[in-house]
């Protein structure tokens, strides 16, 4: 406890004449850390969307007219025998209407004399169909059936989403690396200034027999604290931005508690590494 108080006092002494630069460093760390944070949250949400879409890969096969139930059954069997199709469900015009009513409310189709919707098959397909060539082949095969009017598939959207996701992740890694170096550099500079300010005190401590650890621990912890506080402020800012986007535009998932802890610990670690880099040069005899 006594040691902790001593370290806290030494940390305060190290920054009390450098409050403005220290605050500046904190702000820079916060700004530096919020960027990869944004990329992380974005990539996490894109991944989730991608996963959801891949889990339910649906191809809508619209039919020219209503089918008898026996024809619907045989067509279903024929579809199920096609490579890449794992499930098939017949949606009659009435089914489509009730689905639409359930989704958008009854009023939407009021005033219409007859049901304008088409009967269709919802085909569950494998991920292999995401390949543009495979998708084209499957669509051609389906269109060859005389009953089929049109085929709609979101595969292209998905493969585009996949590409975006890969780019975002790559950007995230690059940013994280850049931020790691930036944070280390900022903290190292702040701590270097703090040590230079206290050069005389550090020399006197050495003179009376203080060990490297005794002298440097407050500075290393100061670096860690800068990184930690910077990361905490970034998390708050990220949470606020996520909340704002969720309320105003689209629901997005924020980081899980363990991810928040990892983010903050990363800040702490980067700060300590920066401080160690700054203190390494000192106290050589």
């Amino acid at each position: 406890m006594r040691q902790l108080i001593r370290i806290a006092v030494e940390m305060w002494r190290a920054v009390k004449f450098e409050l403005l630069p220290t605050f500046g460093s904190l702000l820079t760390i916060f700004l530096a850390m919020i960027l990869p944070g944004i990329v992380w949250v974005t990539s996490k949400n894109l991944s989730r969307a991608d996963y959801e879409l891949r889990k339910n890969l649906i191809m809508n096969v619209f039919l020219a007219g209503e089918l008898s139930s026996s024809r619907a059954d045989t067509l279903k069997d024929e579809f199920l025998h096609i490579d890449g199709v794992t499930g098939a469900e017949y949606i009659s015009k009435d089914d489509a209407l009730s689905k639409m009513k359930a989704r958008f409310g009854g009023e939407i189709l009021e005033g219409l004399d007859e049901n304008p919707l088409l009967s269709s098959f919802e085909l569950r397909v494998t991920e292999a169909v995401l390949e543009p060539q495979a998708a084209r082949t499957l669509v051609m095969r389906l269109k060859a059936f005389p009953e089929v009017d049109d085929v709609v598939f979101a595969g292209e959207l998905l493969s585009r989403l996949g590409k975006i996701l890969r780019s975002v992740k790559l950007l995230g890694y690059a940013l994280a690396l850049l931020v790691a170096f930036t944070a280390i550099f900022i903290v190292a500079n702040t701590v270097r200034v703090a040590i230079a300010d206290r050069r005389k005190t550090v020399e006197i401590m050495q003179l009376v027999g203080a060990t490297r650890g005794y002298i440097l621990t407050p500075f290393v912890l100061l670096g860690g604290l800068l990184g930690l506080v910077g990361a905490v402020i970034s998390i708050f800012a990220l949470a606020w931005i996520s909340g704002y986007i969720s309320q105003s535009f689209v629901m997005i998932n924020f980081l899980m508690p363990h991810e928040i802890v990892a983010f903050i610990l990363t800040g702490l670690l980067l700060g300590m590494v920066g401080a160690i880099v700054a203190t390494r040069k000192y106290l050589k005899i």
Binding site: R6, I204, L207, V208
Partner: protein, 220 residues
């Protein structure tokens, strides 16, 4: 207790700062090291508290072989060597008592012991009543007494004083030297480096003369 054998110190290819210095100091001795500026007095003292290492030769201080000591052990040695400088070297944001306590804090003493020993050391140098003053609130003589208290508080093997009176007026100089003599009478081993040969001789103690980094002889 302190043995210096054939010690030399040189920096690169420049002229040697010290050449073949040999002498020894017994426990409880008060020794003056005299010589003009640049004679090598401060260099010799720096070798004794390991601010620098000798280029050659052997130095032993009590149980420590200073020529072979590892970097990790240097703080341990320094806890057994008290040093006083011309410019006092007190920490400005600490009070007199806190400056003295620092020597005890770094060795991990308990709060009560720190308090007691700090008070004792400040009383010993006659400045206890100013224990809560900051260095800028002390006169030169008072600040130097605090520095002596800090150097003595751990009962060092030797007290090294490098031009301790350099920043003091005549009265404070005499007072400080009287303090050092009292400490010596009570058993402290002390080496004082000074360019004031006359002042050193007044004490009737051993005086070593340095000239251009070589030991020219000794007198009383």
């Amino acid at each position: 207790m302190l043995v210096i054998e054939n010690v030399s110190k040189h920096y690169g290819h420049r002229q040697a700062a010290l050449t073949n210095i040999s002498f020894s100091v017994s426990k409880g001795e008060l020794v003056f090291l005299t010589g003009a500026s640049g004679a090598g007095k401060s260099t010799l003292l720096r070798l004794l508290y390991l601010e620098e290492k000798p280029s050659s030769g052997i130095i032993t201080l009590g149980p420590f072989d200073l020529s072979r000591i590892t970097r990790e052990k240097i703080p341990i040695l320094r806890r057994h060597v008290g040093v006083v400088f011309q410019d006092f070297r007190l920490i400005p944001e600490r009070t007199a008592a806190e400056n003295v306590a620092l020597s005890l804090e770094v060795v991990g003493k308990g709060r009560r012991e720190i308090r007691r020993k700090t008070d004792d050391a400040l009383s010993l140098v006659g400045i206890w009543q100013k224990r809560n003053n900051y260095p800028h609130q002390l006169s030169g003589g008072e600040a130097q007494r605090v520095a002596v208290a800090r150097a003595m508080v751990n009962d060092p093997l030797v007290l090294l004083a490098d031009e301790p009176t350099g920043n003091l007026d005549e009265q404070n100089t005499r007072d400080l030297l009287a303090l050092l003599r009292d400490l010596n009478l009570s058993g402290a081993t002390i080496i004082v480096a000074t360019h004031q040969v006359g002042l050193a001789r007044e004490f009737g103690k051993r005086v070593l003369h340095l000239l251009s980094g070589t030991l020219q002889g000794e007198s009383r």
